[in-house]
Amino acid sequence: MSGWFMEARSRLSLLALVLLANVLVAPGFLELRLVDGRLFGGIIDILNRGAPVMLLAVGMAPVIATRGIDLSVGAVMAIAGAVAAATVNAGHAWPVAVIAALGTGLACGLWNGILVTIFRMQPIVATLILMVAGRGIAQMITEGRVLTFTDDGLAGVSSASLLGLPLPVLIALAAAIVTGLLVRATALGLFVEAVGTSPRAARLAGVPAPGILIGVYVWSGLMAALAGLIAAADIRGADANNAGLWLELDAILAVVIGGTSLYGGRFSIGLSVLGALILQGMRTCILRSGLPPELNLLLMALVIALVLVVQSPACQPAIARLTARLTRKGTA
């Protein structure tokens, strides 16, 4: 627990640093205004824009903890958005569209999970199939164009607000809390980590490994569908080509920045959400600073490189020595 606390502290200080940078480039950043019962301001903006990646990261973290990876989440977002738009355009009510989109995400996750468990494919290959084909399927549903809709209920997934907070933020936070409770208040999280550490040992210890594996991919698909709904509601249309494009990489980065090892066995929902917020904070900072947005990619590369170097076995002894010296100084 203290390890988690130290990691949380380092991620929080990183987030604080990013927010500080935001304040420096835009002095009014921390201001909050209430307009028509909805809060506006820099922090809300980061939360709101970061919601899709937060959702994807919440789904991706357990997958990575099982030593897997889900490359298909961006494509699943596009499919779910397309299904929702097509459903309301066919004259159904918006709750039906939401259920249809979530069902689609569930089915996509089930497909991935079955490939990984029953066909015993490597996760990267299994989800690559849906990543390649998924966008094609989404294009098939939207017939290659941006499928717009006028349904206010569905658009509300992005524009509505509750208690002053935009709905996407609430959805992402609720998803993170529900997932966190699911994995930490029960033994599910331990099962997931056991499968990631050693599938054979987990099986011998009586962990239902296939069920756990299918479960994490289904959950990831479901989170992707939620993110897809938000993305579609945001533009009041389903864009099969661009919805969720490259967001799988953002989600993986958020999870890695959150300290989850790509070699499996350990994960944290809360830290992954922090990772997503750090990424979005960096994006916003560059956007507001007036620097060319192209710098985003370079800066992201630098941050990951830093995380990799810090996490690398080659650097661990040096870091351990440094922290030991610092704590000695602190107590002396």
Partner: protein, 322 residues
């Protein structure tokens, strides 16, 4: 025939069947013009697949190739049109730069003991970001040397032509195949992909092999950038977005296992040609939309990976189960 050649033979069989089906529907598919275009249009993908074959056989993955290719096209345009450098000098610079970049990626993977997936992802952001910083616009290249190179081609029997870039691609496959299948360095790549720890215990220099593999991959990506630059006569930072997935798909469809250690160069060429053929067929058909390409490639990936799993399951008990 053993478990290792069976996936390749299956790939070859699928390609021949696919081509036969296309040719029955559209007899002009058999013309040397279509064959020449198939090779020319997919030359950059083929060159990328050569490098990706090395990486995947070593048990790794390289997500940065599309970005390196994009960066190369912009760098060439800036050097030739902006700085007035001769194209040949520019080609040398980008090839050396590509090799150095790839070696750096290999060093990072080995030294940081980090997953190739995340290191090459970082490299992808780095290369794409650098390309966008150079220029966000598409820069045309009007140098007359480009005209000369584009004009070079070999006449095929019939009305077809084999362009220079198609010849470069075929040469890359031949040289890559020789390096992989007939040299000690190639053997080390297989050993590393088979089992990295045992390879180390056997006295194989895993650091050198890792650096070689990613060095080759990035050099090929730079070469693909040159080819794309000649093909479109321009440089654009967003060139080749997502093309790394096509290259991975080509290698996998070609019978190489993504877990490393099993596969070969010839299959990757067929993998590229199968993708090109699907695209050509959809163009011929005219009524089908381009999204069918993605769905078809996804289905092919599924079929081939399933096939490989079956073959491995039923082959000798010593066979790897991945």
């Amino acid at each position: 025939m053993n478990a290792r050649t069976l996936p390749f033979l299956a790939t070859l069989g699928v390609f021949i069947l696919l081509y036969a089906a296309c040719a029955i529907q559209y007899p002009s598919m058999l013309s040397s013009r279509v064959i020449g275009n198939l090779l020319t249009d997919n030359a950059f993908l083929g060159v990328l697949a050569v490098g990706m074959t090395f990486v995947i056989l070593s048990g790794g993955i390289d997500l940065s190739v599309g970005a390196v290719m994009g960066f190369t096209t912009v760098a060439l345009a800036v050097m030739i049109e902006g700085a007035g450098l001769h194209p040949l000098a520019s080609f040398t610079i980008v090839l050396v730069g590509g090799a150095a970049f790839g070696c750096g990626v290999g060093v990072a993977i080995h030294w940081l003991k980090a997953p190739p997936f995340i290191v090459t992802l970082t490299a992808m952001f780095l290369a794409r970001g650098a390309a966008l910083l150079l220029s966000t616009d598409s820069i045309p290249v009007r140098h007359e040397f480009y005209q000369t190179l584009s004009g070079l081609s070999l006449s095929l029997p019939g009305s077809g032509r084999l362009g220079l870039i198609a010849m470069v691609m075929l040469l890359a496959f031949v040289l890559g195949g020789v390096l992989l299948h007939f040299t000690r360095a190639g053997l080390r790549v297989y050993a590393l992909g088979g089992n990295a720890r045992f390879a180390g215990l056997m006295g194989i220099d895993t650091a050198r092999t890792t650096i070689l593999v990613y060095g080759v991959s990035s050099t090929m990506a730079a070469l693909a950038g040159i080819i794309f630059s000649l093909y479109t006569r321009s440089g654009y930072a967003l060139t080749g977005v997502g093309v790394e997935l096509d290259a991975i798909a080509a290698v996998v469809i070609g019978g190489t296992l993504l877990s490393g250690g099993v596969g070969g160069m010839a299959g990757s060429l067929i993998g590229v040609l199968i993708q090109g053929l699907i695209l050509t067929w959809i163009t011929f058909d005219g009524s089908l939309s381009s999204w069918w390409t993605k769905i078809a490639i996804g289905m092919l990936l599924f079929i081939f990976i399933g096939l490989q799993r079956l073959i491995l399951q039923f082959s000798a008990p010593t066979g790897r189960t991945g």
